[in-house]
């Protein structure tokens, strides 16, 4: 095993592991954060990062062969779509009447601030 390969392996593995850890944290956020908007922060950003990390790990490991390209594609696609999905979900939440959590301090979008969370 050459040094180059060694470095590549370590790098790829750390991307890989980092991605997973971030993802896990994101999911923890999903569990812990107070309202749907905050949870979206966790899943979108950290989730994407986690996914991207793992995909990058793959690219590091295999290079730009078909697998690497696919991995990049997956990551790029997530980056393209996840924000929109988050946008759609948060917008839907707000317009559906899901209020912000009680810790919230401002809502310049609408008047649904502090609404009862239980509403579905």
């Amino acid at each position: 095993m050459t040094d180059y390969e060694m470095i590549r392996n370590i790098l790829s593995f750390s991307f890989f592991a980092g991605g997973m850890i971030f993802l896990f944290l994101g999911m923890l956020g999903l569990l812990r954060l107070p309202d749907v908007y905050n949870r979206l922060h966790a899943t979108t950003k950290i989730g994407i990062l986690g996914a991207f990390g793992v995909m990058l790990g793959i690219v590091m490991k295999v290079g730009f062969n078909s697998m690497g390209i696919k991995a990049i594609t997956v990551g790029m696609f997530l980056m393209l779509t996840a924000p929109m999905a988050a946008h759609m979900m948060s917008r839907a939440a707000h317009r559906h009447g899901v209020g912000l959590c009680k810790e919230s301090i401002v809502d310049e979008y609408g008047q649904s601030y502090y609404k009862d969370q239980e509403k579905e």
Partner: protein, 138 residues
């Protein structure tokens, strides 16, 4: 109406999804994919347009007769079978040939691939037909 953000992203995503569906269709014989998967992928791309732009808008652009697509698909798939009979073989007897094309290299042409294309058409045609008739109601 959905937002311009959604619409713009959709405009970007749809061709990608369709291309991906075609890639799944063509690669299906050697990689994960195939007619069904490709077809659903295609249908998903179009339904993304339906969802984001609304059925009315799409209808104003083009009123696709999806039933013709799946009928066509059925004809393609069945014809693969009948083709074999014309060549004195059994229905759906497959064959393949290796073509050597300059610049591109070896290409395997598989008759089952044509069958798969038929499947592709049937799948997206029928799914979109279902979506359209259901969404169109009232």
């Amino acid at each position: 109406m959905t937002t311009l953000i959604a619409k713009t992203v959709t405009k970007a995503c749809v061709p990608i999804a369709i291309l991906f569906s075609i890639s799944l269709l063509l690669a299906g014989h050697n990689n994960p994919g195939g007619g069904f998967i490709g077809g659903v992928m295609f249908a998903s791309a179009i339904s993304l347009v339906y969802v984001v732009f609304g059925l009315d808008y799409i209808m104003s652009i083009c009123n696709c007769k999806w039933e013709k697509f799946f009928a066509l698909g059925l004809i393609i798939s069945a014809s693969t079978g009948f083709g074999a009979i014309l060549f004195g073989h059994n229905f759906l007897r497959s064959t393949f040939m290796e073509l050597h094309i300059p610049l591109i290299g070896e290409i395997e042409l598989v008759s089952a691939g044509i069958f798969d294309i038929g499947v592709y058409f049937v799948v997206f045609g029928s799914i979109l037909y279902i979506f359209k008739s259901t969404g169109d109601d009232e």
